[in-house]
């Protein structure tokens, strides 16, 4: 009964979305305030309907109602509660409902907290937001119904894919969706601005916090996903250029560009058309990602459903939203009047280069992702994709970008003094050279890795230089000035510093990772990177819905006498899920200094030995530390005063924000 009620609520949401699309648009073009005001209650009603539907499906998952097909195919009564809940978004239908729920949360947030927006703009933004919801609600109801029943109901479910039964994966899809779907706000604002024919500093100021929020979630979501891959796939890698990963990475690149170009619109009234284009593309890429992952045009390890009929439906949505948005752009954008002029060497110029490089990087990733498909449809081709492709194409674009990231913030608006800015980076340059020399002394190469270390140091020190220079922190009273800096300035320093740390981690992982794979019998040891790993024993451990084989490794510093205190004890597991007939790996990871000791237990060799894998991953924890700092930078920047001033009623309303799900 609850399921039918949820289904009904979703149908109702579709109707509300249809009204919310049409009525405010008509109102905005006629200038009828009552019709425009309709958008706000409609957005809240839509959220209520979708929340009921989501709650109904969640109830079915928690109570293991196997008469619901989505539950029967993706859950099992022996799964722990957390994974019964995560099962909701571990499949195509349920994850689509999560997608829509987040979309309506964003729409309702504009309705509830957008009091300071001009009525006409708000009405149009909410109408576009509803139009997106309309398409995806129709897709859910007509082609991917999460409430479909099974008759007869099976006695037990088929279980969530065991590789997804992991705390990391329970939380990372909602975070990622908050990012993907959050970009719909930038899209809606862009379309509304095109309809109005006006883009100004105020518009940029409204659109930027939404983009920033989405970007922050996307950053955290991508980092979470790669962390998950790192410790559950069990071979020490953390990024594989898989289509699913690329699907989240492309919108991130474009959203990063958008964040930067929106500053130019806000401060200098320039780059308007370009910013609008980026706003459309950012959401466009997140839709293309959805399409690639769900339509089955490209094979991926974590692809959802391979169903061409669904693919066709999503393709139609893509054409309506992206194609329609870009068409509107082609029609209206040429008449947007740009304001501020600037010299090529200026803050604006630097941000433009940043944008071009990021957009090119996104295009490179897109090409690598769909190249096999393009060639296939052209008949026949011979091309290789995979890390070799991305190393050859992505790196040459991103390395100069990193180098310029330290310089850009030191340039002034309109016309800048490049030698002066470079002069202020002398210290950063010295540190970069010293860092590269230290890396060379320890590891001796390779050259690209030394460059990576130098760039990371350059950017990190460069970001600090900018912060210290801006606040004159080293002069008397500097601490107070440092504290009084705008939050946005702190946000930028954190984000750029975070990138620098992440790059250092990526460099360490790519160049200096050590691994050893061998067969050990209990009692035997292997040595890697100055540590000795002794396999003490292998023993079975029962889990709630799996049988685990757990190993115990004692790690000690090589050369120390037997019996000296071990530096770590690792317990990697191999889990076997009888229902899904799958085994998963749980690596055991211990952070030691800035390196990870990483151990994995593999198959028995049948003669009393076990295949084991050890990795020494220097600097790798910095990847996630850096990403977290970047996300923190996003949050700090989001709290900047300029997003609150002039809207005291909004600041008051914020106290009773919708609680997180």
């Amino acid at each position: 009964m609850i399921i039918e009620f949820g289904h009904f609520a979703l149908v109702l949401a579709l109707l509300v979305a249809a009204l919310q699309t049409v009525v405010p648009l008509v109102g905005a073009s006629r200038g009828d305030p009552r019709l425009m005001e309709f958008a706000r209650p409609a957005a809240l009603a839509q959220l209520a309907c979708v929340a009921i539907a989501f709650g109904a499906l969640l109830h079915a998952f928690i109570t293991s109602d196997f008469s619901v097909a989505a539950v029967a195919n993706n859950s099992n009564s022996r799964q722990p509660l957390l994974y019964r809940i995560a099962g909701l978004w571990g499949n195509h239908e349920g994850s689509l409902l999560l997608w829509i729920s987040i979309l309506s949360v964003y729409g309702a947030a504009v309705a509830a907290f957008g009091g300071n927006l001009p009525a006409r703009l708000r009405a149009r933004v909410l109408a576009v937001q509803a139009a997106i919801a309309l398409g995806f609600l129709a897709f859910t109801l007509f082609a991917s119904n999460p409430f479909a029943r099974l008759d007869p109901a099976p006695a037990d479910g088929a279980e969530l894919n065991p590789i997804l039964q992991d705390p990391g994966l329970a939380f990372h899809p909602p975070m990622l969706y908050l990012g993907y779907v959050g970009l719909s706000m930038a899209f809606s604002f862009a379309i509304a601005a095109l309809i109005e024919g006006r883009v100004d500093a105020a518009w940029a100021r409204w659109v930027r916090p939404w983009t920033l929020a989405a970007w922050t979630c996307l950053t955290a979501g991508i980092a979470g996903g790669s962390w998950w891959a790192y410790y559950t796939l069990g071979w020490g890698g953390w990024w594989f250029w898989d289509p699913t990963e690329n699907a989240s990475f492309m919108p991130w690149l474009i959203a990063t560009a958008l964040l930067h170009s929106a500053i130019v619109v806000e401060k200098r009234d320039a780059l308007k058309g370009w910013t609008i284009l980026l706003a459309i593309l950012a959401f466009g890429f997140s839709l293309i990602g959805t399409f690639l992952v769900r339509s089955g045009v490209i094979t991926s390890v974590h692809a959802f459903a391979n169903d061409p009929a669904r693919g066709l439906f999503i393709l139609a949505l893509l054409i309506v939203y992206i194609g329609g948005g870009l068409l509107l752009f082609a029609w209206r954008a040429p008449s947007l009047k740009g304001g501020g002029l600037f010299a090529p060497v200026s803050r604006e110029g630097a941000l433009l280069i940043n944008n071009l490089l990021l957009a090119t990087a996104a295009a490179t990733v897109l090409l690598g992702t769909i190249y096999p498909l393009i060639l296939d449809t052209l008949g026949q081709g011979t091309v290789s994709v995979g890390p070799p492709y991305y190393n050859a194409t992505f790196m040459p674009i991103i390395l100069p970008l990193i180098a310029l990231t330290a310089i850009g913030p030191l340039l002034s608006w309109k016309r800048a003094d490049l030698p002066g800015a470079l002069g202020r980076l002398k210290f950063a340059l010295a540190i970069a050279i010293i860092a590269a020399l230290i890396a060379w002394w320890i590891h001796g190469g390779p050259a690209l890795a030394l460059l990576g270390v130098a760039l990371a140091a350059w950017l990190f020190v460069g970001a600090l230089t900018e912060l210290i220079g801006r606040s004159r922190a080293l002069s008397p009273g500097g601490l107070g000035r440092l504290r009084r800096l705008p939050r946005a300035a702190w946000g930028m320093t954190l984000a750029h510093g975070g990138i620098a740390l992440a790059i250092l981690g990526m460099t360490g992982s790519a160049a200096w990772k050590q691994e050893d794979i061998r067969v050990l019998r209990p009692g035997e040891s292997a040595a890697i990177a100055g540590y000795s790993y002794r396999l003490d024993q292998v023993f079975p451990v029962p889990g709630p819905n799996y049988e685990a084989t757990r190993a115990r490794f004692t790690v000690s510093v090589l050369g120390n006498a037997e019996g000296s205190k071990p530096v770590a004890v690792l317990y990697p597991e191999k889990r076997s899920y009888p229902v899904a007939e799958t085994t998963t790996t749980q690596a055991a990871i211990r952070m030691l200094g800035l390196a990870d000791l990483y151990g994995v237990i593999g198959e028995p060799d049948g003669k009393g030995g076990w295949a084991v894998r050890f990795y020494y991953e220097p600097l790798v924890p910095l990847i996630w530390i850096g990403c977290l700092i970047m996300a923190a930078g996003g949050i700090v920047s989001l709290s900047d005063r300029r997003y609150r001033v002039g809207a005291p009623q909004r600041a008051a309303a914020r106290a009773k924000t919708v609680p997180a799900e």
Binding site: W235, F291, G311, S384
Partner: protein, 180 residues
Amino acid sequence: MIRRRLLYLLPVLAFLAIAIWFWFGLAPGRDPSLVPSVMIGKAVPAFDLPPLAAGAPGLKNTDLKGHLRLINFFASWCVPCRAEHPLLMDLAKDKRIELYGIAWKNKPEDATNFLIDLGNPFAVTVADQSGRTGIDFGVYGVPESYLIDRDGNIRYRQVGPFTEDDIEKKLKPLIAELSK
């Protein structure tokens, strides 16, 4: 002014081009893991690859006659290869067919570790470090597999990892037919 307008039309045109490709990609009956190949029915392209481990035999295209063989392009950096690997281990037990591995764009020591770790289903494993042989075969990416008949002709191509279904419904019947 017109030229300026055309510039603004570029994004939508580029998008439409991509959308059309997507549409072709969705054509009914197209299975993304079974991309038709012009190589089917033709002889294996010429190649001569060194062994993965020093001392083992290498592999030339002319070595491929006389027995039914499956050539699998793999790499240790490839996620789907790991997913596919247990199926290859099973398939290796089938006496009618021999599995040959080509480590594609992969450091030999990494590929060797991969096989030590997950088991080695291959009778012969060679290294295509430059990826040149992969290009001659028309490899899109790894994993990719080719079924070679006794005359050295390509009879089946699998783009992407094998699934159990692929092996049972596509590969096994073909093996049965070709090993008569």
